[in-house]
Each structure stands twice: as C-alpha cells, then as structure tokens.
C-alpha cells in the first residue's frame, strides 16, 4: 500500500497541483500578530497533505481562505486552476470542505442529513442510491440511518459529516481538524476512510490537525507555527537529522516521572517525555549520551513530535525550573482520598455511568479514560458535586461534595474542559475573584497572586482580558486559578486538549511537582501518551470500567503475539474493542 501510494504521489507531484498558495498573508483587527504570514504551499492530487501545527497556528484561517470564505490581505491562492476571489462559487461547487464544526442538523436522521446535502449539491436522484450505499458502507453508518444525528457519538458525527461532504465526490477535499475530540478508535476509522478516498478516487486531501502523531500518516507535511511555515516535505525528511539524538532510558515502573525530571535537568537533554516503560530523551545537537550510564541509553528511531519540539526549542525559550509546591501535611488516617462505590447515573432510560467503583490514594495521579460518551465527564461531574448520583456512594476527602458544607469545596481545585474563566475580566481580576471566593485574606491573596503571575508567566499579561489570551495562556490562567488556594485535590477535565506540545510538557511538569507534594490529581484526557503520566487509570466504556491499573498493567493486558509491545493507544483500542462495545465492533 505504501508503495502504491508513493507511486501515485510522484505521478501527482509531476502534474499540476490541485491547490497552490503563494505568499498568503492575513491579519485580523485586534490581534497582535498576523494570523498567516507569507504562507506558500501546494496540495497534489492522490495524496494526503497535512497542515500540522498547534492551536492558533493559522490552520483554520488558511482553510477558510482556500474556500473563498475569507479574503487574503496579500498573496494568491489557485484552486483547481482557478484563482480564489474571481469565481468562488464555481470553486466551492467542486471542492469538499469539512469545517471543524460541521453543520449537521441534529434533529434530522442520518439518512435525512445525507439527502439534504445531496439536495444542496444537486446530486441527481438516479445516482443517489448507489452513492449513499457507498458512503454508508465506508463510514459504517449503515445500521444507524434512522438515528437522529444529535444522538450519534462524537466519532460517528465526524464520519457522518465527512459522508455529507462527499455526497458529490470532490477532486479536492479540505478537512479542518476532523479528528479533534474524537477517541482513538474513531480516529483510526476516519484515517482509513481518508486513505481509501486517496487510493481509489485519486482525491487530493488537505487535512489540518494538532495531533503530531497524525503527521506521520500524511504523504506530505507542512508545519505551521504562529502563522508561518516552519518547514515542509515528507514526514521522514523532518526526522532524518535527528538520527542518533533520540534515546530511550528504562527506569523502574513507578519511577518514570522521577527519572524524567532528573533527565530533564541534564544540560545536553533538550526534551524528555515518558514513552511506555521508558523515558524518551532528545539530545541537543552535537552532544552524546553519557558513557556507561546506568540505566543504559538505547537509541530509538526519531518521531515527528521530536522534530517539532526540536524546531520549537531552537527558537529558544528559556527552560522553566520545576514548580515549587509546599508539601501538603500528611493526613492522619485517610490514605484513600477519593472513593467511589457502585456509582450510577441515569438520564431517563439511558445509563451514562453504570456501577462504577474505584479509589484514589493521596498524592496519586489518577486517569479517567474512555471513548466519547463513555461516561468520563458524567463521573467527573458527580465527583465534583455538580451532578447528583442516581445511586451508589462517593466521597472526596471524606465527604460528598454535593451535600457537604461549602467549606469542604475549599480543599479541591477544578479545571474544566472548556476555558471557564471570565473572558471580559482581566487576568488579574480573574485571579483576585477566585482568590477571594476561596476566602484568602488580603495578605495571603497578594502572596498567591504574585506566585501565580510569576510561576505561570502571566505577569506581563495581567491587565489583558482573559478572553483575548492565546489558548496556551488561557490554560495556564485556568490552572493558576485552580491552584491559588493550594487545594489538596485537583480535578482536571481534559486540561490539555488543543494545547501545543511545549505547553503540555510544562503542564505535566507542574502536575508532577504537585503530585510529589502530596496533591491528589484526577484527570481525564484524550491524549493516550499523556495517560502514561498517570500512576493508575481506568478505561470506561458505555458507563462501565473495562480495566483498572497502572499504565504498564493496562499495556500488558493488551499484549498479543502480533503486538508484543503495544503503545497506550494500541492498548486503549484493544480494550474498548472488546465484545461489550457493539458500536465500535468492526
């Protein structure tokens, strides 16, 4: 398959590109820097071109420019041999564009949505039965044609959106973050569909994503950062110069985070992340691993993410020292800070959480994983006291937060999935409000405010409206607000979604420091590599626990002859593809 694809690619590269952008720039009023700065790129037929970059890199702006939904300030975009800005309606009729939030009509069924889009694209009646059958087969939505779109899971909605985009087969397909917020199983399915379109129809695909591991699935990659192209080419081109600079260092199973912190302090180490049972180390150029080190350093093949981090770090940001956290007093008796037994939550006839039991010990990082709609958020909200349980017991620091006195809530910190601070208030006003709401006195508030502004690098932005901060800074502010009152327990709901890899590293460094100081952390995440940072985790599916254990145990349980060393993502897919989950069964 790889061979045929690279062949098609070389053929296509030779032919005229489907999309050609030259020196495209775009700024928006009120933004400090340009959204796009002199971006040039080509999208060939018969290949997947990945536009890779963290949030706010300018990916969506570029997509919208290519569809003629926005006008560039400078530069030229040619799509299917027509220049954007002259005959946009004709171009729009020939390309397929799936925006991040595709306009599915949630009150229509799957079949009605397809018919509606076929009507909008004037697909002849005679062609429809065949085309619909083909699309439903490809997206495996055939059994759900009568289900309302609003009742589909996140991954199925994305597949239906893609099917609607494809009712009239386009020559060029633009996909804006099709896999964001989608669980790993659905992500793989979406990628399979995209590959098939390229292989069978010779379609050209421009796909943008913030997941760096997806870069390796593209035939051509354009790396976008802060509106500028950092590099482009075959994914392997990016990593070639890193050969001999990436190593794996194996440590004791429960010492990985300590080992990572220790390695990160070494001057020659540019980056260190946890990868399965080892710590993956990226060395600075022209340095060598320590001789006769124990544990030994094993050379590894470089990944795209290594290359991305390497490029970003070249642009020099000073290294942040680990966060200083005051150790929490040892509790007298309570070793298990969070206990949940037979917890259930029903919404009408639908059982969102079904007889879930687990316990979290003091100072532990505990992960709550699961596909879309598995019951993670419901469990999370019940623990925070935001939603009453239908049955079962739960206790956080010895009390049920829903019924406990308000003071009990002062011991927890909470960071929600969406940025949930006040956007019209300044950074400092937000922090002051939450400090006061948690009852910090004047003196204490001043100390903690200074700490937060310095630790999170927010001091220069203190007067700025929180809503105008870049995403990474919003996440820092939300975390600062959650930590102002020095909580003993921290609840984090997908805290890193959409945040760039550097920011995610800083985030996990802080979480590690907090856990070492005895803070208990409960976290949900979509990033499987982040699950490795947990001490223990559960994987939920359809409201039930599939497996509970340390990352190593979860991976070990998924070991198969054909997959001797599964990654966390492989393991996750293994577990949720178990027979109990019919919607994901192949």
């Amino acid at each position: 398959m790889t061979k045929s694809m690279s062949e098609t690619m070389t053929e296509a590269m030779a032919a005229a590109p489907l999309l050609h952008a030259e020196q495209v720039s775009k700024s928006f009023a009120g933004m400090a820097r340009a959204a796009l700065n002199a971006v040039s790129l080509c999208v060939p037929a018969g290949a997947v071109t990945g536009l890779i970059g963290p949030d706010a890199a300018g990916k969506t702006t570029f997509m919208r420019l290519c569809c003629g939904l926005l006008r560039p300030d400078a530069g030229r975009i040619t799509v299917l041999d027509r220049q954007i800005g002259r005959d946009d309606a004709a171009i729009q009729a020939e390309i397929g564009y799936m925006p991040q939030h595709f306009g599915l009509y949630e009150d229509l069924t799957v079949a009605e949505n397809l018919t509606l889009y076929a009507d909008l694209h004037s697909v002849p009646q005679a062609q429809r039965p065949d085309r619909f059958a083909q699309l439903l087969d490809m997206t495996q939505l055939g059994h759900f044609t009568t289900r309302l779109a609003g009742r589909l899971s996140g991954g199925m909605k994305q597949k239906l959106g893609l099917a609607c985009t494809l009712v009239q087969p386009p020559r060029l397909l633009l996909l804006d973050e099709p896999t964001v917020g989608v669980d790993p199983v659905s992500r793989r399915e979406l990628w399979d569909i995209v590959y098939r379109l390229v292989a069978t129809d010779g379609m050209g695909v421009l796909l943008c994503t913030a997941y760096l591991d997806e870069a390796e699935r593209c035939q051509q990659v354009v790396l976008l950062h802060e509106g500028a192209v950092l590099g482009s080419g075959h994914p392997a081109d990016f990593t070639a110069h890193l050969n001999g600079r990436v190593f794996g260092v194996r440590g004791a199973a429960n010492q990985r985070r300590a080992l990572q912190t220790q390695l990160r302090q070494r001057p020659e180490v540019r980056d260190a992340v946890i990868d399965r049972d080892r710590v993956r180390v990226l060395l600075a150029p022209n340095t060598a691993p320590p001789a006769n080190a124990a544990p030994p350093w094993v050379p590894l093949a470089p990944r795209f993410e290594d290359a991305f981090i390497d490029r970003l770090l070249e642009q020099a940001t000073q290294r942040h020292p680990p966060m200083q956290v005051a150790a929490r007093p040892e509790p007298s008796a309570l070793a298990e800070v969070i206990t949940v037994s037979n917890l259930s939550r029903r919404f009408g006839a639908f059982v969102a959480v079904d007889q879930v039991s687990f316990a979290v010990r003091r100072g532990e990082i505990f992960g709550l994983l699961g596909a879309n709609g598995a019951g993670k958020s419901t469990t999370f909200r019940m623990l925070c006291g935001l939603l009453p349980a239908s049955s079962g017991q739960l206790s956080v620091a010895g009390v049920d937060l829903r019924t406990a006195a308000a003071q009990a809530r002062a011991r927890i910190g909470y960071m929600s999935q969406k940025f949930a601070l006040y956007e019209v208030l300044s950074v400092e006003q937000n922090l002051r409000f939450f400090g006061r709401a948690y009852g910090l006195n004047r003196q204490r508030l001043r100390e903690r405010l200074d700490w937060a502004l310095n630790e999170f690098g927010l001091a220069p932005l203190r007067q700025q409206n929180a809503g105008l901060l870049p995403l990474g800074f919003k996440q820092r502010l939300a975390m600062a607000a959650a930590l102002l009152h020095e909580p003993d327990i921290l609840f984090l709901d997908e805290p890193t979604s959409g945040v760039d890899p550097l920011e995610r590293r800083a985030f996990w460094q802080r979480i590690d420091a907090l856990a070492n100081a005895g803070v208990t952390i409960l976290i949900t995440t979509h990033f499987m590599d982040e699950a490795e940072y947990c001490d223990r985790m559960i994987i939920l599916s359809q409201g039930r626990i599939l497996i509970e254990g340390s990352p190593a145990e979860v991976r070990a349980g998924a070991r198969r002859p054909e997959q001797p060393d599964p990654s966390m993502e492989d393991a996750f897919i293994h577990w949720i593809s178990q027979p109990a989950a019919p919607e994901h069964a192949a």
């Binding site: 909200r381 925070c384 006291g385 935001l386 939603l387 937060l401 829903r402 308000a406 003071q407 809530r409 002062a410 927890i412 909470y414 929600s416 999935q417 969406k418 940025f419 949930a420 601070l421 006040y422 956007e423 019209v424 208030l425 300044s426 006003q429 002051r432 409000f433 939450f434 006061r436 709401a437 948690y438 009852g439 409206n465 609840f491």
Partner: protein
Amino acid sequence: MNSLRRIWALAIKEFQALLRDKKSRFVIVVPPVIQLLVFSFAASFDLNHIPLAVYDEDRGSAASSLIARFSGSGHFTLSAPVHNERALQHRIDEAQALMVLHLPADFSRQLHQNGSAPVQLIIDGRNSNTAAIALSYANRIVDQFNTDWAQSHHLPNPPSVLISRAWFNPNLESRWFIVPGVVGLLMLVVVMVVTALSVAREREQGTFDQLLVTPLHPAEILLGKALPGLLIGLFEASLIVLIAVYGFQVPLLGSLTTLYAGIALFLLSATGVGLMISALSATLQQAVLGVFLFLVPAIILSGFATPIANMPPLVQELTLLNPLRYFMVILRGVFLEGAGFNELRNQFWPLAVIGVITLLIAGWLFRHRMN
C-alpha cells in the same frame, strides 16, 4: 465575615463584568434614557390635531360661530370644507378626516325659532379609543355653545349643569399619568436584563460550574448576583425620577422615603424574577426569550395603559402575581396623591412576598437544575 467577603467578591466581579464591556455599559444607560424620552413624549392620550371636516349646508352666523368654537379649541384642525354627501363619505373612508361636523340647511333658522337644532357628527370609529376621546371633546364644545347661546338669547338654562373638577391632575394631562408609570416600566426592563442574563451567560460559557465548585454557598451566589441588579436599578430609578420631576415637571407630592421604600421592594421582586428566569435557562437565548415572555404580559397586565378594573375577573386575579402592578399603584400614589406608607401598605407586602419566593426558587435552582 468570610461569607460577606465572598459575596462582596462576587458582586465586584459582576460589576467588573458589566462595566468593562463597552456594549453592556451602553445597554444599561442609553436605551433607558431614550425610552424614557420616547415614551414620555410619544405616549399620550391627549389628541391635539384631530382632522375635522365641516359640511356646512346652513352658512348662517350661528353655524359659523359653532365652527369657530371647534377650530379655536386647540384640539381640532379644520380641513377643506365638504360640499356633498359623497365627498363626506370619501373623507372618512380615506381617513382624511377623523370627524365630520354636519350642519343641516335650516340649522340657524331652527335655532332662532325653537331654541334648539340638531347637529350631526360623523366619526371614524375604527380606533374606538381615539373616537371616544374626540367625541368627548366635541361634546364639551357643543355643551359650552348651548350654555352660552341660552345666556345670550335669554333662554332658560338647562335644569342641571355639570361642573367637573379633576383632582390630582386638574388639567387631566396624560403625561402626569404616564411618566410615573414609565419609571416602573424602565426599571423592570433594566433589572430584568441585568439579572436574567447573568446566570444564563455563566451557564452557557461554563463558568457557572467553576463558580459552583468554589466554597460559595448558593445563598451567597444569590446575593452576589442580586446586588448589581439592585444597585443599578436604584441608580436608574433615581435618574428617571429626577428627569420626571425636573424635566417633565410631574409633581412629586409624596415623601422620598415612601417612594424609595417602594423602589427597593420592587427591585427585590424584579431581581427575584430575573434570577429565577436566569437559573431556569440553560443558554443566553433561553434567558432572553424568558425575559420577553415575562415582560410583555407584565407590562400589559400592570395597569400602565389600560385599567386593571376593566379586565375580565380571571385576568384581574392573574395580575396579582405581577410585581409591576403593585409598583404602578405606588408610583402614581406617591407622585400624584402624595400617598404615605400606610395607604400603600397593601402594595408593599405583596412585592416583598414575590421577591422572597422568587429568590428562594432561583437559589434552589442553581444547584438542582438538571442539564
């Protein structure tokens, strides 16, 4: 003490959120002032330029004298005279005249001979309210003409004469009736907008969950959320009362203490209703709809324009739930009658009851509303 500090922190945050945003600053100040001016100048029951056509077949001096009284009254504007029945009909049909005064050919003769003569008034009854008012003006003019004619021709006076005195509003200026009502109307609108959007906006943006996990007790959230509405309402009320008294010269006979007691209680109930709507809504859009669904009936069933006593009994009972109804009585009582606390007792306590009940419901809904 700690609790007070938390409430204060929330109230400050609410003010910052309202006042840092240029648009919400604008919404709080400019529309109410514009509305006050528009309502006060435009909403009037007085008719000043009623288009009147005259079909004078008589052309005698008595007829001209009666016509002169119409044109000189200040209420009527004479349009071109009508010369036949067809033209008369046309004028009314095309709404070129609201009223046609028809003086028959022998008007003057009959008047001189018999001391009485028929006059015909044809009026456009499509807007019954306007027609009735215009008719009453015409009646008054004809009555006065009769009395004067009797005196000057030494005829016996009619057996009884009606001499009317309007108390509280001697000239029956409708502005005196409307402007105090506008005070209540605008306060309700402003307070509803400020409070009804506050919780719903936080729910929509996800900040309400963040608020619920802090040690803030629902009662504290309630007070923190209610304070800005109360204070802004108080500020607006004072502003509008000042404009009413100094700008529109509406007399304020009662004491300021009574007036502000009424304002405070009304603000409490309006804030309660606003927060209740807000706590019920999951999104901003729902809250806006909720406010709209409440405001329109609240204004119509308040006695602002049409008297509650004219409504069917069932609807009259429904108005008992409407805080604006009580406040209208308080406002007009204090402004025009100089009513004191005691006379308005029965208006004060229902406002307090509505306020307390709606606030309790709102506070309960904060935590118990299901998503």
